[in-house]
Symmetry: C2
Subunit: 420 residues, 2 copies
């Protein structure tokens, strides 16, 4: 055993710089574990003259990225801008094995291809936020595919059943007598193995990932490595101001949404959500946030416009932001609908086929769900070509709807088009 060399002390300037960086990185974070993790890891990087390796596991299911995903990506970008390396992990191994329906070889191969496509789609969107240098894209099949049962058993010694059952969703499902397969139960361990495999110094994630991220710490420690620190970010609430932003809830803004959609959806958020969005979606520094807060106190609608402009700005550029704002003003503030409404293709069928207006409202995204569509109709919030629809509208055919404008409140509308 060799004696441990006492770390060389850093200069005052170095310590000051690190303290400043740690403060900036902590902005907007929900939690840093351990508490002094930022300063300690930054010191390590400084002493060892190397960048930190900052891990983020990405969802291989291949959906559109939303402002919710962007929260953690922006934090990752902040690390990159300080010289550190973002290590994105595609869970392709777990994605393939984990598919509960993927029991046959054919299906599994398909999933492998899908995973590749999905990872590409993900990266295409993520690069609206991340920089391409200081970026490592890894697939966890690289190390997990070679693991044996013996490796698994040796690793699993470091975790207990009681610990795993503390994970929120496991705890809930166990309490409610819903099945948790042993396979799912091993997933946190696999994620932890990822951290060990790539020598992560930091792992980022939403607060829903805290448990899994801490497993990484445990396994690194157990393997005699320096455990990663964990930085979690709050779950962004969606445009409804109630639930966390999610694709299934229809309360999202996607990075690939058009500038008009980004602007319009943002203008629809409740005022109470503004501070959260300003902090988590706008990549504003302290001074800009102060200015925003002042505006919000005096002129809340201007503050909301500032958020909407900033969001289009970040993803589509300043020109687009200005244009989107002008179109929005034309369309809604002057109670006019512009000509370039988004089109929605009606379900396939002949002209006389019945068309379910409830389903169409949900499918267009005007309503987040069929339930919400019914509520919107009941409250008189839906118009068809300018006429308010009753709570229980008469049956339409596809021909009835073709070419008409379906409008929700003052701000959102689509032009319905029958399939050719």
């Amino acid at each position: 055993v060799t004696g441990q060399v006492a770390p060389q002390p850093l200069s005052e300037e170095q310590e000051e710089r690190i303290a400043g960086q740690a403060r900036d990185l902590a902005v907007g974070a929900a939690q840093v574990i351990p508490e002094d993790g930022l300063v300690e890891k930054l010191r390590t990087a400084e002493r060892e003259g190397r960048p930190l390796r900052v891990k983020l596991g990405i969802d291989p299911s291949g959906s559109d990225l939303t402002l919710g995903h962007a929260v953690v990506l922006r934090k990752l970008r902040q690390f990159q801008d300080l010289g550190h390396v973002a290590v994105l992990i595609v869970g392709d191994f777990t994605g393939q094995v984990g598919d509960p329906t993927g029991r046959t070889k054919t299906r599994s191969v398909l999933t492998r291809e899908q995973t590749s496509r999905n990872a590409a789609t993900y990266m295409e969107q993520a690069l609206k936020i991340l920089r391409e240098d200081r970026l490592e894209l890894r697939r966890n099949s690289e190390w997990l595919a070679g693991k044996t049962l013996a490796d698994v058993l040796a690793t699993s010694r470091a975790l207990t059943v009681a610990q795993l059952l503390e994970r929120d969703d496991f705890a809930r499902r166990y309490r409610e007598n819903l099945p948790i397969t042993l396979m799912e139960f091993m997933y946190p361990m696999l994620q932890g193995m990822d951290s060990a495999a790539i020598d992560a110094d930091f792992e980022l994630g939403g607060t829903d990932q805290t448990f899994n991220n801490l497993v990484g710490r445990t396994l690194q420690k157990d393997a005699g490595a320096d455990p990663q620190a964990v930085l979690t970010l709050p779950m962004l609430r969606g445009t409804d101001g109630a639930e966390k932003m999610g694709k299934s809830l229809g309360n999202f803004v996607a990075l690939n949404d058009s500038p008009d959609d980004k602007y319009g959806k943002t203008m629809s958020i409740p005022d109470g959500l503004m501070p959260e969005w300003a902090e988590l979606c706008c990549a504003w520094g302290a001074a800009e946030l102060d200015e925003f807060r002042e505006t919000m106190a005096r002129k809340p609608m201007d503050a909301k416009r500032a958020i909407a402009r900033r969001i289009v700005d970040l993803y589509d550029g300043p020109g687009e932001a200005k244009a989107a704002e002008e179109r929005f003003t034309a369309r809604f503030s002057r109670h006019e609908l512009p000509e370039d409404l988004p089109e929605f293709t009606l379900p396939a069928g002949s002209a006389d086929d019945p068309a379910d207006i409830i389903a169409i409202l949900a499918a267009t995204g005007l309503a987040g769900s069929k339930g919400e569509a019914r509520r919107l109709l009941a409250s008189g919030g839906i118009r068809l070509d300018g006429d308010k629809l009753p709570a229980d509208p008469a049956a339409f055919t596809i021909a009835d709807l073709n070419g008409k404008v379906l409008q929700k409140g003052k701000r959102q509308a689509v032009r319905l088009v029958a399939k050719e």
Copy 2:
């Protein structure tokens, strides 16, 4: 998908023979799962003109086999005698990985050698009961060492956390907040994988193994194979008549015990234990059991002698049984101690070193534990060279004890000898 061929009906003679065999095999069993498992599996064997594969997992920790182990081995022998194949599984893979202290390479290699030695020791003793033909000895490393993480995940999909937590010891430990490692939690699955790997038709085990054995059924079913039936045997209570027979409790009779020890220990069991031992340890048929019960009703001491004789008989032969009985009678019934007492080597030390009589009583096996040693002394049940020892005997030196006879009650004694 091909249509399933209806099984050919068996002849009346075949059905009768099978029914008879099933009845015999069910004698002494605690449970057969499914209930008609014996008849069904015997029919399968008959139809397919092949022997059944009857699995028994054996303990690779390498202890002496006791009459407790013999209960399940005798049932296995019964299957062999009907033409079926006993498949003994040495858990060498799990033994090596599972050792909680075996974290270094060196230790792991050592354990591999130990496992081999222990398996040899086990077989040497087991062959006092099993026949050498119709016997397959397998190590689970044969199939488990090649398993990958992907295999493990695919298999683990068939099991749920709630099911596994129903296993008695897991349930208890979880309730009492005692740690269960994820590694241990996977063990039932590994045992189940063994059943699938060797195409087991039946698995035998003590009632403490029922849960693990049923996992084998689940995994075979999940893999599309015919699931094994399970036959469990009651846990034999030890010579104290209270706890299940175990090495740590000192209430055991080992297959390698001398004829005198076998005879003497058996004569020490409480009368109430006789029916259980007669059924589980004596390999008696229905007629012999009836005869035994008659004797027990009239002359219990004769019945106990019959059990003791039978046990020596089974493992050491009829000549030894008779001789052991004669020596026992000479020693105890006539209140004399014979010259050929077993010797016990006192702990190393110089002649003047103090000797702890409590520890010696426990180490010789005269007392099952230090606590029992104290109780025996307190009740006046211990003599040194014929003199009753007081509840709190004066301090002895090794010289004091050298050559003396330490005696428990009327039946058991050792000669103490100082180390050369």
